[in-house]
Symmetry: C2
Subunit: 415 residues, 2 copies
Amino acid sequence: MPSRDQVHYFGAGPAPLPTPVLEEASKVLLNYNDSGVGITEISHRSPDANAILAHTQSCLRKLLDIPESDGPDGYQIMFLQGGGSGEFSAVVYHMVSLWLARLTTRKQQGLDNEVQKMKLDYLVTGSWSLKASQEAARLVGSEHVNVVTDSRKHNDGKFGVIPSQDSWTPTNHADDVALTYYCDNETVDGVEFPSAPDGPNLVADMSSNFLSRPVDVRKHVAIFGGAQKNVGTTGITIAIVSNSILPPHAGMADSKLLRKLGLPVGPIVLDWPTIAKNNSLYNTLPIFDVWIAGQVMQRLLDQSPEDQSPRIATQAAESNKKADMLYSILDSSDVYSVVPDKSVRSRMNICLRIKGGDAEAEKAFLKGAESRGLLGLKGHRSVGGIRISNYNAVPVAAAEKLAQYLKDFAKEQEG
Amino acid sequence: MPSRDQVHYFGAGPAPLPTPVLEEASKVLLNYNDSGVGITEISHRSPDANAILAHTQSCLRKLLDIPESDGPDGYQIMFLQGGGSGEFSAVVYHMVSLWLARLTTRKQQGLDNEVQKMKLDYLVTGSWSLKASQEAARLVGSEHVNVVTDSRKHNDGKFGVIPSQDSWTPTNHADDVALTYYCDNETVDGVEFPSAPDGPNLVADMSSNFLSRPVDVRKHVAIFGGAQKNVGTTGITIAIVSNSILPPHAGMADSKLLRKLGLPVGPIVLDWPTIAKNNSLYNTLPIFDVWIAGQVMQRLLDQSPEDQSPRIATQAAESNKKADMLYSILDSSDVYSVVPDKSVRSRMNICLRIKGGDAEAEKAFLKGAESRGLLGLKGHRSVGGIRISNYNAVPVAAAEKLAQYLKDFAKEQEG
């Protein structure tokens, strides 16, 4: 029966949260802001709920240096439900509708033929971008999905690299491209983009490395992520969306025309223009989850210098330091082999094999880890092996304890 | 700065939760099941998470006497994200796909023409069923939406009645009907169906009266509800879906055919067959919210006799008693007028006006209530007035305190 401080949790998501945030959460569950009413009970339209929403948005703007919400250069910060997987669909519904609306400003006739040219460009660099591309194919038809690159074709059928850009096959004409999609950090495969790729209408899934490093927000039309890794709890998804792709700065196709052309119409709860217009309060928002995210973000702000831009740089330095320490131990012993290529190693999800994937050795590793209170280290069921998730709420001390175990285990195996 | 026991909250949703559940929740947030890891942090694929899911499903089956999950007569219990509004769309995507699959077993040719006949029958008896019907029209086109009844046409343009069935205009041929939709309890308008209506492929939104009375589950192909009223917290939506409309017992149309015929393809996270097949774990499920619902349900079971069927009857009796007490006071004074017709008064949301809607008097009522710690009594912003939400977690003592205030206020106004 371990207590919280006897255990270090390295699960891939849901991820650990800072203990002080959970301690405060356990109080507000019963009585929020001395109202006599708990935080899950208050109305999502109450002044308290609005203040929580505004606080979380404001923290995120500061952390990632997100342009303010007004004007065509601004960005909206939205909270939705349905997780990253929900946004796999939302981006398709939205960007296809936007693409069609733009098309109709150029052409009024022969839309049936013009629509054939529409392409959704996907960079498939791991399990999640693959899933996203499959969802796009389900929604619009595989003939509209252009796989710009598939890492597996360059790595013996497995993920683990990001092929060089000169091998990519993006759609020729930018006008045809409804979106260029990538997953910034692949949780299952331990692959992270060193920096954002190029492409028209760039959309990023940052579910598993959100708030772990500075982001070139302005390069993207949309960035989204489930909150349950670095940001907070399962239950909300954050979307940062450029005003340039939202009304009134951009037109959207009407649902009748979409249907007529065989294009999909999404559910209202995933409709970005509706969510933006209602400041995430189109329907009941899980305010508790928004509050948790706000508390986590406030801590990141508190630990970073006020004149630093972006404020997330402080956390980024800590994340890098923890990851570097762990990778350097893994590299120094033949017992361990890191799965992805050195050039694209994730700082968030460190995927490795022991003795080239020896089942007994990996089992022994997990058992030994557990006896030291080091939990959540099993690799994703689809790939096996070991995965160390190095999210923000993993303290340096926990990473150090794990580092020591990695050294001890290697010594034991070598000796 | 009131404490929790100095306040009685009558908000329409999110709704109050039993204090003992919140007290336990505040513990498990930090350490679940003596694992050293908090409940929002554990993996949704862990044995602990699976046990939580199974417990909540099992409680719900007992409470509502839901047929077991196996076989064509069984029902699945699913947890989704996106709230009731998300299910407005999910039911359309699903029932339209099902309708088309059934059509293709009868006809292979001229599907374009056959599809014109498809109808979605909606009973519009309040703000939420109206919204659901509008979402259906957005997704499939208004030409496919048949409003079987619109209460406003029978009540001077306002909701507040359920017209007698002989005035309804259901679609003639049952084969053409993709679904018959109703909202069992209209939160905004205070209207509740005395019993389930008739119609092919019956679907019910029970968001605001879930777990407040016995339900004829077998009469429905699907029942859904957001959890944040009687059941738990915002963040999960519960769907009870008949195996008869799910694979392998029912075929679904493929997305290509749907698109070709101008019918909508929904997002994977709202796809009932996918969610059912994965026992609600297709993507990360907010296990904390499922746990809360399970705790609330367990309390309902604990307070009801084991040989009673359905077990919810005990809570139903209490709900009725509280509602009867409040309505009888409202009926006994001219100061109050209950908004909906007596035949369809909701036991959950008691909507009233004071002095026929006198703004000053209603303001005074709310102010006086607040001074007694009676909160959350303001009517929905779209209709104004006063609304007493009498959900399960409103204790009899709170209802009695409110009853006393209703009497005192009336006396003061009359005198």
